[in-house]
């Protein structure tokens, strides 16, 4: 399958190229950018990131664990302290609060690795220039579409277009 790698200088150019390609029905796209640009990511992926689900699950697990271990442990071997109830919610809320953040934060980090597909080999199209200041757009397409795509990205101020992997 032919793969077109085009290079852009400005984020707004790659955004309009992505939008036009997607309108034309080319969906096998990937972009590389040297810095976070929400407009590029939003043009590529419309849905909000699934990382949010990880944070929620982690936070809920943390708050549950916090209250469960404190209440269970205090009642497992009851020791009267200051005449206060064994299941004292106010002090245990501090433990539950800290564990909410601890578990939520760790799950968020795990979410980044899973959702962002980290810990894998880089794509062959990736180049160190995309960690300098240029933007890369990779389109996988049918042979008959190469000319159209090339014209389209050049129209959007692509500075270079290269055909790899015919």
């Amino acid at each position: 399958m032919p793969t077109l790698v085009s290079v852009f200088d400005r984020p707004q150019d790659i955004v309009s190229a992505v939008k036009r390609l997607r309108n034309r029905g080319f969906t096998d796209l990937e972009t590389y950018s040297p810095a976070p640009f929400a407009e590029i990511d939003d043009a590529m992926i419309e849905k909000p990131s699934r990382v949010r689900a990880f944070t929620l699950v982690g936070g809920l697990a943390g708050v549950t664990t916090g209250y469960t271990i404190t209440i269970w442990m205090a009642n497992n071997w009851q020791i009267m302290l200051g005449g206060k109830p064994f299941s004292s919610i106010p002090p245990y809320t501090i433990i539950a609060f800290e564990l909410t953040i601890l578990f939520g934060g760790l799950m968020t980090a795990l979410g980044l690795f899973i959702v962002g597909k980290l810990g894998r080999k880089r794509d062959p199209e990736y180049s160190p220039r995309f960690s300098a200041e240029e933007f890369g757009l990779v389109v996988r397409c049918q042979d008959r579409d190469v000319a159209e795509i090339e014209a389209l990205v050049r129209d959007n101020h692509a500075t270079e277009v290269e055909l790899v992997g015919a």
Partner: protein, 455 residues
């Protein structure tokens, strides 16, 4: 498969030489080469660290008797320094999380170094818990683990809340720091050679800046900021409850939470200035960490100094207004008792001296900021000294009063903690980009692509 049609795209050009961004070149250069001055500085900090390490080993062997504890003061310089370092650790998360949520873009220049300082300061602080308990080999008793005695820890104790708060804070600040580093490590990976290439390739976790990765990364940063903001406010509140939950005069105050948090942010910003002003000068980073950034930080210093100064005054007011003799005596002894020197250092360096920052000429004077930040560090150490030592020295019954002086062992370990912090920071300077390159570039590219564009 049919051969691709003959278009301009099929004519493979030789790859042009890498057109690198100026930010990459300038900021990665900090990591290159090790000068004699750097080695001398590193030798000094490692020397202090070894001094503290040796003293600690001796203390473990001899017991806490070599510390200056004297009845009734059994919380000494170790706890003072623990609270001091936890306070220092607050600037990083404030800059990374709270200023991120407020979309204060100027944080981009300083967030990396501040986050690094947070991690190193928490690691330094955490050691003081082990140093303070004396019987280091029993410090795991603080964790709720199943044991043969069937005993569990006391979750109603502020000391246990502290364990959970500090543990969470250390973990989350390391996670925050590491996740922010990944794109910058990828930048370093693409330009490194030799062993560095291998290390950065592993640490970058295959980062390539794809839309999927950036989208997840932005969302992760947002969520971690949302989690870290209440965390940073809670950590020093919980530390303050170590004192406020007791009934010791001078400690038993509801103001302690916000008072400690403001003090922590105050001291943390001071430490960021103390460290970053020399780094900026030595590595010529004036284009990235500009006078504007330093001035913004000094405004924060002024704001938090006012809050801290207000807390000092309201403590005095409340003790007078309470008509409780023990409280009044405590605060009289603070200002005019045997520890008057510490108290006036605290009031002068934290409350009065920073008021000079009302003047723009001084806010923009780098030398002044540097010297002021050192005075604030000293003042904030004395603040904890005043609160902890005087609280214990002059408890209710005058017959039970007693004075405390730090011993040589405590002073050596306290000095060594600065060596430990300095060593970690110096190593960090040579291993990772000291300024968040990707975030600096985000601003640069935005600016560049909206100047005279054809759109």
């Amino acid at each position: 498969m049919t051969p691709p049609p003959d278009t301009a795209a099929t004519m493979m050009r030789p790859a042009p030489a890498l057109r690198d961004s100026q930010a990459n070149i300038d900021l990665l250069r900090v990591m290159d080469g090790i000068s004699l001055k750097y080695l001398m500085l590193l030798a000094t900090t490692v020397g202090f660290m070894l001094l503290a390490g040796g003293t600690w080993v001796y203390q473990v062997y001899k017991g806490l008797g070599i510390a200056g504890y004297a009845h009734p003061v059994f919380w000494g310089a170790y706890i003072v320094t623990f609270v001091f370092w936890v306070g220092i650790a607050h600037a990083g998360t404030l800059i990374s999380a709270i200023l991120y949520l407020f979309r204060a873009k100027w944080r981009n220049a300083i967030n990396r170094s501040a986050e690094a300082m947070t991690v190193f300061a928490v690691l330094t602080a955490a050691q003081f818990l082990g140093i303070h308990v004396g019987r280091l080999w029993k410090s795991y008793f603080i964790l709720p683990y199943p044991n043969q005695r069937g005993l569990w820890v006391n979750f109603k104790s502020p000391l246990l809340w502290d364990t959970f708060a500090i543990g969470t804070y250390a973990t989350i600040s390391i996670v925050f720091f590491a996740i922010g580093l990944i794109p910058d490590i990828a930048i370093a990976r693409d330009r490194a050679t030799g062993w560095r290439k291998v290390v950065y390739t592993v640490l970058a976790c295959g980062w390539q800046g794809s839309s999927k990765q950036w989208k997840a990364h932005s969302r992760t940063t947002l969520h971690l900021s949302g989690l870290a903001t209440p965390l940073v406010l809670s950590v020093h509140s919980v530390v303050s409850w170590d004192f406020a939950m007791s009934i010791v005069p001078g400690w038993h105050a509801t103001i302690f939470g916000p008072y400690f948090v403001a003090g922590a942010i105050f001291s943390g910003f001071a430490m960021v200035l103390t460290v970053m002003i020399p780094v900026r000068r030595i590595y010529g980073l004036e284009a990235y960490i500009t006078d504007y950034h330093l001035e913004n930080m000094s405004r924060f210093l002024l704001l938090t100094s006012i809050i801290v100064g207000y807390a000092y005054l309201s403590e005095y007011f409340i003790s007078w207004y309470s008509a409780v003799e023990f409280e009044q005596t405590h605060f009289w002894m603070r200002a005019f008792g045997p520890y008057w020197f510490s108290t006036w250092c605290m009031l002068g360096f934290n409350g009065i001296l920073p008021q000079l920052l009302w003047f723009k000429q001084l806010r923009t004077n780098i030398w002044f900021l540097f010297i002021l930040s050192i005075f604030i560090n000293i003042g904030m150490w004395f603040e904890r000294y005043v609160i902890i030592i005087e609280g214990l020295s002059f408890e209710h019954d005058p017959a039970a009063w007693g004075l405390y002086t730090p011993s040589w062992a405590e002073m050596a370990i306290v000095a060594g903690s600065f060596g430990f912090f300095g060593t970690l920071f110096l190593i960090f300077l040579k291993l990772f980009p000291v300024v968040a390159i990707a975030e600096v570039k985000e601003l640069e590219i935005h600016q560049r692509s909206h100047e005279g564009g054809t759109h």
